[in-house]
């Protein structure tokens, strides 16, 4: 049973990662920076619970806030960079953040041992959950409270005027401007919300794996982040969830017996999915 709980935890966290990219993709911005905001959430939430003794919930709040603030800061220069150049710029930013954490040391002595991030070795002993006696099932439920909350929020956005405005910007920026939509406000706000979501996801990730390091937040993770909403389609948030379940559960776990060939199959699966359903599993609206 614990195996399935663990799987559900992974699906939940990856869904948060995917949703952080989903809202940004709606505005037409392809961002490979979501893994970077995820990393910022992970390290900051981890440091707060481990080094400052905070409870996990406010730590997640700060992780989310820092993710949002960084994303907002990235959102403005991102406006100047069009289309595919944005992919490159966000890719470079993501790598830059990863390299920052590769070089980041901040250790404090606690009870005789030194804890905290240590550059290339990473950040070990993020043990809030075990230390407070949370069971695997409880951690899973905790994660899913956030997943469901974020999905509900984004689903609400999709039905509101904000969601329609986001999509109109993604469709045609010139037309959107011409009907009075402030592109800057829309694109930066979407990026900020995406950063907040990624920050929460990262914080949860740090606590459930208990050990994070720079290599976890690499280009591959950034790719997963945008792969989920693209493969799932931008029609609905459920597409992203379906894509995560599809990839994580079916592919990685179900094909576990293929061992190390998982990543190869991930690549092949993406290629196949894009050839067969270029607009995603759930696709666009009919047309």
């Amino acid at each position: 049973m614990d195996f399935y709980f663990g799987l559900a935890q992974t699906v939940g966290i990856h869904t948060l990662l995917g949703l952080s990219a989903y809202i940004v993709l709606l505005t037409g911005q392809v961002s490979l920076a979501q893994a970077a905001f995820f990393a910022i959430g992970a390290y900051s939430a981890g440091m707060l619970t481990v080094l400052a003794g905070w409870h996990v919930v406010p730590a997640l709040g700060v992780g989310s806030l820092l993710g949002a603030v960084t994303a907002c800061a990235v959102g403005f220069p991102a406006l100047r960079v069009k289309g595919l150049m944005l992919v490159v710029a966000t890719l470079a930013f993501g790598e830059g953040v990863r390299l920052f954490f590769f070089n980041f040391d901040y250790q404090v002595a606690k009870g005789g041992i030194r804890v905290g991030p240590l550059g290339g070795e990473g950040f070990r002993q993020i043990r809030f959950f075990p230390e407070h006696g949370w069971t695997t099932a409880e951690v899973m439920l905790f994660i899913w409270v956030f997943v469901i909350g974020v999905m509900a929020l984004l689903w609400w956005f999709d039905r509101s005027r904000y969601g329609a405005v986001l999509r109109s910007v993604g469709e045609d920026e010139v037309a959107a401007q011409s009907v009075g939509i402030n592109l800057t406000a829309v694109k930066v706000s979407a990026m900020t919300v995406g950063g907040a979501i990624a920050g929460v996801g990262g914080g949860l990730y740090a606590h459930y794996t208990t050990h994070i390091e720079h290599a976890n937040f690499n280009v591959l993770l950034a790719t997963f982040a945008i792969a989920y909403p693209i493969v799932g389609g931008l029609r609905t948030v459920f597409g992203t969830l379906a894509a995560v379940i599809f990839v994580q559960a079916f592919l990685i776990e179900g094909l576990r017996f293929l061992g190390d060939w998982r990543n190869l199959l991930f690549g092949a699966l993406i290629i196949l999915a894009m050839n067969l359903r270029p607009h995603g599993l759930f696709g666009r609206h009919s047309a």
Partner: protein, 247 residues
């Protein structure tokens, strides 16, 4: 209401517009005609703010538009349609109108949360009126990409009206329409003028522009070669030579 003074726009060596002077008074319908490449669309794009001016001034209701960004011009009261229809294809007809409700009245009417996070029940009345005006009520949940050509043109116009404009720039609205549709368009334009909207109409379809405009300006190679009532313009020899044909 709108004044263009010595407006020029160069693209590298090409002088798309060269020193255009034009005045549009409140409540008028001004037609802008001329051969392809004469600068008509450039004029609309400059008034709407999509390109910066190379030289000259555009003043709208006593305000200089030089540094005003595109979306703010809409809020000042300038709306436009596009020559090649630019609808939000993956949004429904209703949503296309909904996202365009950005006039100052709409913005101040409701609170922030209501306006942005409210569902599709908000703004229902105004949108219903626009749908009726454009005869698109029965298609309100249809995706814009699935509409017929004529329906898309009507939606494009309706969307521009959703912003409650004082000045409406129509860029070749009759292109591709048959005679019946042109007649309906003509009636709509007249109805809009009756509601107090000032209109600048770029067109090639002479029967529409001559029949509905109060004044017409004729462009050729980026410059104005004639201006006057339809009758005056039609009999102007320079215009005939450049555009209308005939000796």
């Amino acid at each position: 209401m709108l004044e263009l003074k010595a407006v020029s726009r160069y693209f590298g060596g090409v002088r798309a517009l060269d020193g255009l002077d034009l005045t549009v008074n409140e409540g008028e319908i001004v037609g802008l005609i001329g051969p392809n490449g004469s600068g008509k669309s450039t004029t609309v794009n400059l008034i709407a703010g999509l390109f910066p001016l190379t030289a000259g001034e555009i003043v709208f209701r006593k305000q200089a538009l030089r540094d005003v960004p595109v979306h703010k011009r809409l809020q000042l009261g300038i709306a436009r349609t596009f020559q090649n229809i630019r609808l939000f294809g993956q949004l429904s007809v209703w949503q296309n109108l909904w996202v365009a409700q950005n006039s100052p009245e709409d913005r101040s009417r409701r609170g922030f949360f209501s306006r942005w996070l409210g569902g599709q029940t908000r703004g229902r009345k105004e949108i219903a009126q626009l749908l009726e005006f454009s005869a698109l009520g029965h298609k309100q949940d249809e995706l814009a990409a699935n509409l017929s050509f004529g329906e898309q043109r009507r939606l494009e116009l309706a969307r521009a009206l959703a912003a409650r404009p004082k000045l409406l720039l129509l860029d070749e609205p009759a292109a591709g329409m048959n005679a019946e549709e042109i007649g309906q368009l003509r009636q709509r334009i007249v109805d809009l003028r009756a509601e107090g909207i000032t209109i600048v109409l770029i067109e090639h379809v002479m029967e529409l522009v001559m029949g509905v405009a109060d004044r017409i300006a004729v462009l050729n190679f980026g410059q104005k070669i004639a201006e006057g009532t339809p009758a005056q313009v039609q009999s102007d020899p320079a215009v005939k030579k450049a555009y209308l044909g005939g000796s």
